[in-house]
């Protein structure tokens, strides 16, 4: 029972992270404005990503969710979609014991 509550809490956290990241992408990349953006969409294919934007996104994720993304998490796989980013946030939060 308790485990289930914890699992649900984690789901809520990831869903919340996904919503925030989606909002950030929409606000900062023209390619994501006024179009459907599903959590599974490959954001690298949909909009051109510069390393500058990747850095901004990284800063946004770190400051919004109060995490530090280690070097070996900075891979295309973790940044390719809203869902993947949110999952990464959840994982880093969990490993920080929250």
């Amino acid at each position: 029972m308790r485990d289930e509550v914890v699992a649900n809490m984690a789901d809520v956290m990831v869903a919340d992270a996904a919503a925030k990241i989606r909002g950030y992408l929409r606000e900062n990349m023209t390619a994501f404005q006024d179009v459907e953006l599903d959590d599974e969409d490959n954001i690298f294919e949909r909009g051109y990503f510069t390393s500058l934007f990747a850095m901004q996104l990284l800063h946004y994720v770190e400051s919004t969710f109060d995490i530090e993304v280690p070097d070996d998490y900075i891979i295309l796989q973790n940044f390719s979609s809203v869902r993947r980013l949110a999952d990464m946030v959840g994982e880093l939060k969990a490993s920080a014991g929250e």
Partner: protein
């Protein structure tokens, strides 16, 4: 000690005799104009940290013909350390490359207390400044002599960017950027050596190369030495990037990739890398890149790892990446790329 990139000046009793807010008759100190103009010609940036009424002080600086020499002058009633921090952020340079000149020991100590890496100068030592080693670069490149001009152009861009409402990539689209990639020529080498010395954030290894080493590499049949230049509608950023590729049989290895920190906000960091990637793919080569993690170059790590480079070897902070060339990157739409191979 690192060469200084910026000298921050106090005004009252440092630049001129007298106190502006006390209504004194202000007279420029002997030799100060020569020091400012000479530092400027050496490619050293200058700014102001002064406790004064902003508009009055700026008017005075214009009156004496010195206003144009100072980038992002901080004239306010805040601590000098916070003014120095603001200048550092605007110029996007390391705090350890700033020197601060003030006549008051209190102000020098306050800055040194908050920023131990900032070297302070007593304004009584004005006469000796031009012979200080940190202010005396051995060579002054063409790009260095234009440095202040380039920052002023940057200031104009930044103001336009602040006024622009909307996505940042949309703003970049309006800059009409042209990115030219060419093989390094003899005349580029001093600037390239300087770039390897001055660039920290977007630098794949942090290894410095001398003019002589670069000259050998330029002539080496086993290496390609690329240089890039960026212009936009506000002017030229000059030579802002370098790539050194070592060619061995079926493998090409990027031994050095760097982009000047002045272009970080322009989203051009991946252009040179995309060019190299496409070229390796066209030539049927395997493509590797060396990387040395420093405490400053996280953005370079992000650039590589999000461009599909995977770590194939690692020892401590030294990495070797490989890109399988499965994805051929395109250049961003807002930038025109010219290749002069």
């Amino acid at each position: 000690m690192k060469m200084a990139k910026c000298v921050v000046w106090d005004l009252d009793d440092t630049l001129w005799h007298g106190t502006l807010s006390a209504g004194d008759d202000l007279v420029l100190r002997d030799g100060v104009v020569n020091v400012i103009k000479t530092l400027d010609a050496r490619g050293i940036l200058q700014s102001v940290a002064s406790k004064n009424n902003h508009d009055d002080a700026l008017r005075k600086l214009e009156e004496v013909g010195l206003a144009e020499y100072f980038l992002y002058p901080q004239i306010n009633w805040n601590s000098k350390s916070s003014s120095v921090a603001a200048i550092r952020e605007k110029l996007n340079i390391g705090i350890d490359t700033i020197m601060f000149v003030d006549d008051q020991p209190f102000e020098r100590d306050e800055v040194a207390f908050v920023h131990p890496d900032v070297e302070t100068i007593d304004s009584a030592d004005l006469g000796g400044m031009l012979s200080m080693p940190r202010l005396s670069p051995t060579v002054v490149t063409e790009d260095a002599a234009r440095r202040r001009q380039m920052y002023l152009e940057d200031q104009a861009r930044n103001e336009a960017e602040l006024a622009h409402q909307g996505a940042s990539d949309e703003f970049l689209g309006g800059l009409d950027m042209i990115f030219t990639i060419s093989r390094a020529k003899g005349g580029d080498l001093l600037r390239l050596a300087e770039l390897t010395e001055r660039t920290n954030q977007l630098n794949s290894t942090g290894i410095q190369y001398s003019h002589q080493q670069l000259e050998e590499l330029m002539h080496s049949p086993d290496h390609d030495l690329w240089v890039c230049e960026l212009t936009d509608r506000y002017g030229s950023y000059g030579k802002i990037g370098v790539a050194l590729v070592e060619k061995q049989d079926d493998r090409w290895t990027v031994n050095l990739l760097l982009m000047s920190c002045r272009t970080v906000s322009k989203g051009v960091g991946t252009v040179l890398l995309s060019f190299l990637l496409n070229r390796a793919a066209e030539n049927g080569k395997r493509f590797f890149a060396r990387f040395r993690r420093t405490d400053r170059n996280r953005q370079m790590l992000v650039t590589y790892q999000l461009a599909n480079f995977r770590v194939v070897w690692r020892e401590g902070n030294d990495y070797l990446y490989e890109n399988d060339l499965a994805v051929r990157p395109e250049y961003p739409g807002y930038i025109k790329v010219k290749i002069d191979a």
